[in-house]
């Protein structure tokens, strides 16, 4: 592939809708109301009225349509091509989910609707709770947290409430050095101290280090946060022993469900001994994400944590006198940690995820995870058979789960090509690059998660592209170092973007 001199979109500068504004232009002209207009000053107290009208863009409809259409074409999305962004589970979102979510009873539901008039929606939420509980192997679920990180915070608040209820104050939360960055961040935000646990030769939790960190003072261990499979895409075989150690110290065990896509139907966090699990509905349960829509990070918990769940909980009340069951919001939860958000959550996400679970069924979910693991292992082997085997070797050489992490260290040393350069060059081949420089313990890390919805042809094409880039770099590393060539914008100045970010556009 020869670099394009200049891709057409590179010639035009990306503009904001405000720059398209011309005073007096409109997308629609409203008809005369036919009744006298009440001045706004008569309707709203003066102290609540703004002094200046808001600066809104004034643009005609064709220009609005073109503007957003153009922006959408400058984007790379899952519907455009392979998107193996490790840890993000960028799998296909079935269109059936969208049809179901768009049904007027779902799409037009008002969040303040009286529960008596929203029985169908509450029933769906109740059934989703039950499905997630079964998938996790834990008895109770709250749908309130709206993201994985929000679920983590909820889990730590639940941990604190659980210990406080037993008259204990514990200060430390253990997390492996392979953790998602959100784990230590959530720990700090919840007011706990993070204690890092080392990784062993096989990429799992270093058991000696874990024992040592617990033995320092078991009475201070509030929780261990773990992702299994972890961010290296490896399943920790010692999980039962790990759970035993934490439970005998009196701590809770938290499961970061970011990697649930590897295990659905094959094993359950509850069976591994976890007390609290967050699920990323937008990852494992097919909600468009990554700028494509809101998420949801429900939590599933064990019996001992249940009394502290956020309120209200969606509950089913059995009917009496010949009436069927009804669904309600239960606020009567005296030990609850309280509300985690306004209203009940992103309902559209619940609809899509429930549709996904029902349309796949138990066997389908299991097959999805199995295929995700198979695809990752196939791609890992394909890459290892080519130049990547030497230049971009696997960080921990064993069978992976749904994703794997390569190290670009030899590539950088021998060819002068950083992992970032390879990632940028992949854009010219029509692929979204994998996650780079994470987890931190792998030098020049490249984290690849193909997901179950990719064909063998896509996986082969990706492996071929990596091979071609490495071959090209052997003769001319400058090509990749200056990539990408074909995207709307070329190499971004990340340093300047971080040091001197421009986050506001001056108006007028």
């Amino acid at each position: 592939m020869t670099p394009l001199a200049e891709a057409p979109m590179q010639r035009e500068r990306a503009t904001t809708i405000y720059e398209k504004s011309k005073a007096g232009r409109r997308a629609a002209v409203l008809p005369d109301a036919g009744v006298p207009e009440t001045p706004i000053e008569d309707l709203i107290p003066a102290n609540l009225l703004r002094a200046e009208p808001p600066n809104l863009p004034e643009v005609a409809e064709p220009e609005i349509v073109r503007h957003y259409n153009r922006l959408s074409r400058r984007n790379f999305d899952l519907d455009s091509g392979f998107y193996p962004l490790g840890s993000c589970t960028m799998k296909h979102n079935p269109r059936l989910n969208e049809r179901v979510a768009a049904l007027p009873g779902h799409a037009r539901l008002h969040p303040a609707q009286d529960p008596r008039r929203a029985q169908g929606a509450l029933e769906l939420m109740y059934l989703l709770q039950a499905s997630l509980a079964e998938i996790c192997g834990l008895p109770s679920v709250s749908l309130q947290p709206s993201a994985g990180s929000h679920g983590e915070l909820a889990g730590l608040l639940l941990t604190r409430a659980y210990h406080a209820d037993r008259g204990e104050v514990r200060t430390k939360v253990l997390a492996p050095d392979t953790s998602h960055g959100t784990n230590p961040a959530s720990v700090t935000m919840a007011g706990y101290e993070v204690v890092k646990v080392a990784t062993n030769q096989r990429g799992g939790v270093d058991m000696d280090d874990l024992r040592a960190k617990i033995e320092e003072d078991p009475s201070q261990i509030a929780c261990l946060m773990l992702t299994n499979p972890n961010t290296l895409g490896l399943f920790d075989e010692n999980i039962e022993e790990i759970a035993g150690l934490i439970h005998s110290a009196g701590g809770t065990l938290y499961y970061d469900g970011a990697n649930l896509n590897a295990i659905m139907g094959r094993t359950r966090p509850g069976d591994m001994g976890f007390d609290i699990v967050h699920l990323n509905l937008h990852k494992s349960f097919s909600q468009p994400h990554g700028g494509g829509g809101p998420g949801a990070g429900p939590i599933a918990v064990s019996e001992r944590i249940e009394p502290f769940l956020p309120r209200p909980q969606v509950v089913r009340r059995e009917g009496a006198g010949g009436h069927g069951p009804r669904f309600d919001l239960d606020f009567d939860r005296p030990k609850s940690i309280g509300r985690l958000r306004g209203f009940q959550g992103n309902f559209g996400v619940f609809v899509r995820s429930y549709a996904y679970i029902l349309s796949l069924g138990a066997d389908g979910l299991t097959e999805a995870s199995e295929t995700a693991v198979l695809n990752a292992n196939y791609l890992k082997a394909r890459l290892a058979a080519g130049r990547a085997g030497e230049r971009l070797p696997i960080a921990f050489d064993r069978h992976c789960m749904h994703e794997f992490v390569l190290s670009g260290r030899p590539m950088k040393k021998e060819l002068g090509l950083a992992t970032l350069d390879l990632a940028k060059r992949l854009l010219d081949f029509g692929f979204h690059p994998p996650t780079v420089y994470f987890p931190l313990l792998v030098d020049e890390a490249l984290m690849v998660e193909p997901t179950e919805t990719e064909t063998k042809e896509s996986l082969d094409a990706f492996a071929d592209a990596v091979e071609e880039i490495l071959a090209e770099a052997e003769t001319d590393p400058e090509v990749a170092k200056n990539a990408p060539y074909s995207t709307p914008v070329r190499r971004l100045d990340e340093v300047r973007a971080t040091r001197k970010p421009v986050v506001r556009q001056p108006l007028g």
């Binding site: 970032l420 990340e494 340093v495 971080t498």
Partner: protein, 130 residues
Amino acid sequence: MAEANYPDDLRYHDQHDWVRLDGDDAAVFGITWYAQDTLGEVVFYEPPEVGATLTKDQPYAEVESVKAVSDVIAPMSGEVTEVNDVLSDSPEKINEGPYDEGWLVKVKLSSPQEYEALLTAAEYQKLLDR
């Protein structure tokens, strides 16, 4: 500084710091060429306060690059007497000159004997090649 470089007159800590002795009980600390190369372009440096107590092997500052935020580990124990103010506006000095303009802190050492246990340039490079 494009090429790997580990001056012989410095001592090194395995967490990629260097120490330059300044008299019997004072020293300058910084991060090595390898550390800045691995981090990539540094965008922020969060120094300790003057007067802060440093403990050998414990974090005392943070550097942030486009890739990651990393703790800087104290190669020796002591008290901070001066921080490199230039870095607050120009953290790129850490990349450009990790051993001179990019120094991080000056320290009054509390256990100068710790120096002897640090790695020589040759020993540190051997560690990197592993």
